[in-house]
């Protein structure tokens, strides 16, 4: 008897709706598009987050340079930077991979030169020597 019921169930007819298959296909395309947009926005958010961190690092360094300059001769400060930056004293500009900022005084030196120089991440000592701001990586 159970065998007969099983045979009867197997003989029942079903239906595969063509509209359901088309709709599922359309939904898959739509969700694929949504996923691609999500990926693009996600990358943008990560990029902006990185840019904000580098700007903060740049501002920290610019503020330190300005502070040591206004504090006058023999003032000294050590800060820690999280990103590599390059400083152009002639353009009064600090540049990192995704951000830049400026500082108002042209008397920034590394070593004995006022040429553009790079600072790797890490400890940076800034000191004022007779109005000139000297920057050195520790």
């Amino acid at each position: 008897m159970p065998h007969l019921q099983q045979v009867e169930r197997m003989q029942k007819k079903g239906q595969g709706g063509i509209e359901a298959m088309i709709l599922i296909g359309v939904l898959m395309v739509v969700f694929l598009g949504v996923y691609l947009v999500y990926q693009a926005k996600n990358r943008a958010v990560l990029r902006v987050g990185q840019e904000i961190e580098e700007r903060e690092n740049c501002f920290q360094l610019a503020n330190a340079l300005t502070t040591i300059f206004v504090l006058g001769d023999t003032a000294q400060l050590t800060i820690r930077t999280a990103y590599e930056v390059s400083i152009d004293p002639q353009q009064q500009r600090i540049q990192s991979a995704r951000a830049f900022c400026t500082f108002p005084m042209p008397t920034v030196i590394s070593g004995s030169s006022s040429q553009p120089f790079s600072l790797p991440q890490g400890k940076i000592t800034i000191r004022n020597e007779q109005g000139e701001v000297h920057v050195q990586h520790e």
């Binding site: 501002f59 108002p104 042209p106």
Partner: protein, 166 residues
């Protein structure tokens, strides 16, 4: 086979189309909101830069005597403009020299050529004692004013530095 071909079906259902349209509308709304926040974030970042530069410039003006310290006597040898005589007080000769300084050259000295600035000195009653630079006008997209209180000729003065961008 001919019986199967004769059967009628339907390709779309109205509820599926309506739900799809609603979904796309909601998605477009979320994307536009996302874009709006990105624009606001960029504006905030620009404002932050304006604030930083304004604070840097007024700190240099009010806390530094300039380079060289007697720059007002040798304008051609001036590297950096500063107004301080003693901590908390300004030098009247430096103030007069700065107020008469060429506007574009001052912007170049402070590395703020991409902005415009105005410096105002207010007396103890809030009246404008003196000023230089360019006041923000209707073309100003963003502006920020920072203030410092300093002594000038033994009188307390309020130094207002406005930095703005077109």
């Amino acid at each position: 086979m001919s019986k199967l071909l004769g059967r009628k079906g339907y390709l779309f259902s109205i509820d599926a189309v309506v739900s799809l349209v609603l979904f796309i509308a909601l998605f477009a709304f979320v994307i536009s909101l996302w874009t709006l926040y990105a624009i606001r974030l960029n504006e905030n970042m620009a404002t932050e830069e304006l604030q930083l530069v304004a604070f840097q410039v007024i700190d240099v003006l009010t806390k530094s005597p300039g380079v060289p310290s007697n720059w007002e006597q040798n304008p051609t040898q001036t590297t950096m403009l500063g107004l301080r005589r003693n901590p908390g007080s300004l030098d009247p000769a430096k103030v007069a020299a700065f107020l008469a300084w060429d506007y574009d050259d001052a912007r170049q000295k402070f590395n703020v050529e991409r902005f415009e600035y105005q410096l105002r000195i207010l007396d103890g009653n809030g009246n404008v004692f003196n000023q230089s630079g360019m006041a923000p006008n209707e073309s100003a997209a963003q502006s920020i004013t920072v203030a410092r209180f300093m002594l000038l000729e033994h009188q307390p003065m309020q130094i207002l530095f406005t930095l703005w961008r077109k």
